[in-house]
Amino acid sequence: MQATVTIDHELCKGCLLCIPVCPPRVLVMSETVNRKGYRYPLLQDGCTGCELCAKVCPDFCFEVYREAKHGAATS
């Protein structure tokens, strides 16, 4: 399924909670740091739009997009 997330790098505080929660493991932490000094997640190919990263993120970094089909958003 076509899906993606947008990640606001500057909001991230590097808590790492999103990394293990992603089922296809497509989030990896950056090598560079944001203005606060934290590393932040980068999205690789394979996102399924499951929203788990967005739901656990304490800093509201994620927005999730999925291909518009018959089904509604899950939240």
Binding site: D8, E51, A54, K55, P58, D59, F60, V64, E67
Partner: protein, 248 residues
Amino acid sequence: MSGPLEKVFAPSDLLLRSEHSLCPGCGEPVALRTILELVSELDVRERTICVAGIGCYTAFPPIMDVDVMQALHGRAPSVATGVKRVRPDAVVFTMQGDGDMASEGLQEVLHAAARGENFTAIVFNNAVFGETGGHMTATTVLGQHTKTTVGGRDRERHGSPIKIAELIAQLDGAAYVARAAVHSAAAIHLAKQYLRDAFRAQLDGKGFSLVEILTMCPTDWFVRPEEGPAFLESRLVPIYPLGIVKAV
């Protein structure tokens, strides 16, 4: 064949700003977002009044697009009582921490529950005084290290923790009591369901409702942010089991 992408999830539009000053890995913003999502879902924003206690979450009122009455440490239940009594059509919830509710304010929440005051008390329980930098509250668990229980809370010296949900459930005026957590997506989903139940109990005029939400506090648990969920699961959940404790 791929079609256009639609946005299926964004942080609640009742969050006026995403940026906040709480710690990496803190569970309270997750709980806040869940509450605000529910307020939107129930379409009650225009009659929602939050009565906030004092803790790290005191940083939230400036970014919540609902009316907020800030109370003193421990005192949100009496303030919420006054609010709900004069505005019975408002959807009133308190936002408190475990130190606020179970230490300073235990008397207040017990009396409000006994009276069956028709508001929803929400407590973010991270078993520690977060805002002051990591001190024992009434819900700190045995063996938990804090700056006032160095080496771990000891039954002989520091007594035993108070289980808020079970205590409140004993009171006849309490109509719905549940305990949730935000350390996993599944737990967050269940937290929202329990909050929905609690707000429904209020909307149906059934009496006092309380949702205790276990939240991560890696800073004052002295663990790394990514270890917060495991700490919550292994150290708090055995003492504070998740689930619906009472539903009238």
